[in-house]
């Protein structure tokens, strides 16, 4: 029943943050960040399990590992970018949060560049010169 633990941590830290916010907003922000990291670490084992299962399945079925690597990179980039952006957004820096998200989007797009180039080159070869 890990979900209860996660929700418990979330509720407790929310109450603490509400109390702290009146006195020391700085510490409230730190507590929020720490709670976020804690829940993330709590889940990272499960995420790892899912990813290793996917990897095993892909390996046994002879799928190209480069595809799987790309997919994992997408997941990682989006999770990390989302996490950082939310922390910054909690601190009230909306503009920096959106920049972090932009960085995440750009980095995901960069992953697509080699794939796009290969597809385009193939299509160009298909067309008569």
């Amino acid at each position: 029943m890990e979900i209860i633990q996660v929700v418990g941590i979330g509720l407790i830290s929310t109450i603490l943050i509400l109390v702290l916010k009146e006195q020391k907003p700085m510490f409230a922000f730190l507590l929020a960040t720490a709670t976020g990291i804690l829940i993330f670490l709590f889940l990272i084992g499960k995420i790892g399990m899912i990813l290793s299962t996917l990897e095993r399945v892909a390996e046994s079925s002879g799928m190209e590992m480069i595809y799987l690597k790309t997919v994992f990179k997408i997941i990682g980039i989006s999770y990390i970018a989302e996490f950082g952006a939310q922390i910054v957004r909690d601190a009230g820096q909306e503009s920096i949060a959106s920049k972090i998200e932009l960085a995440g989007k750009v980095l995901i797009m960069v992953l697509a560049v080699p794939i796009i180039s290969i597809i385009i080159e193939t299509v160009m070869k298909l067309l008569p010169a």
């Binding site: 997408i74 989007k105 797009m109 560049v113 298909l126």
Partner: protein, 253 residues
């Protein structure tokens, strides 16, 4: 027909993976971008027979491009992961410095060999003297721990014929070789030229037996004078000097 089965299986797996990953994504804002990459992957999988037909090994190219991307890294990472790359850079730097040192030692050895040759020629009036100087790095005598270049071997080979008038070869080799703890100077070897009857320089064969006895005395004298000359002018240890002469007598001091 097995390639068809493989192809179908790959497509099914990639589609399953894509739909699974889409659920795993954290937020809506990233979803569109992730979906684009995933759909490109599916497209590439579906096109893979055509791609491999037209372009060869597309997967290898893809992984190469990905690896290059990974290596380039971001603005702040300094090109990849920190420590190993730093080590690599340092190792590269050391290698470059070593190469430069080798090169400068070689140049210096050539210069020294040329000067020695000039001196020997002016002193003995002999042509066709071949001087080879080997420089090594050694500890400087007193003060610092700095490595300084020392003459670790001098090899003089002479031929009575002038077959090889421009025979100066300064070769500095094996700088990293053991003799590091050697003080300023070491062996000199002087070989005295070829057999006059043969008329050819056989400096490379110090044990040639076809010599004549009459040459012996003069050759020995010359050898000694050369060794003395080098000893005085270059402040060398006689052990460092090796003189090969005349194919007959091979004086090693």
């Amino acid at each position: 027909m097995s390639w068809l089965g493989d192809w179908l299986r790959e497509i099914i797996l990639v589609v399953l993976l894509a739909s699974f990953v889409e659920l795993l994504l954290p937020s809506k804002s990233m979803e569109r971008y992730a979906r684009l990459v995933l759909s490109l992957l599916i497209l590439l999988t579906m096109l893979s027979p055509i791609v491999s037909l037209l372009k060869g090994d597309a997967i290898a190219e893809l992984s190469l491009a990905m690896g290059r991307q990974e290596k380039e890294g971001g603005l702040f990472t300094g090109g990849g992961s920190g420590d190993p790359s730093l080590e690599k850079i340092l190792a590269d730097g050391q290698k470059l410095a070593q190469g430069r040192q080798d090169q400068s030692l070689k140049l210096a050895a050539e210069e020294v060999a040329e000067q020695m040759r000039e001196q020997i020629i002016s002193e003995t009036g002999k042509r066709g003297v071949n001087v080879t100087v080997t420089l090594g790095m050694g500890k400087s005598g007193g003060s610092g721990n700095e490595d300084i270049p020392v003459i670790s071997a001098v090899k003089v080979s002479m031929s009575l014929t002038t077959a090889n008038p421009t025979g100066v070869s300064g070769t500095s080799s094996s700088v990293a070789a053991p003799p590091i703890a050697i003080a300023p100077i070491e062996p000199v070897e002087v070989k005295i030229g070829a057999n006059p009857e043969n008329g050819s320089a056989s400096a490379d064969e110090p044990k040639a037996v076809n010599g004549n006895v009459t040459e012996d005395n003069t050759s020995t004298n010359e050898t000694e004078s050369i060794v003395k000359l080098l000893e005085q002018k270059w402040d060398l240890d006689p052990e460092v000097i090796q003189v090969d002469g005349g194919g007959v007598n091979n004086v090693k001091l």
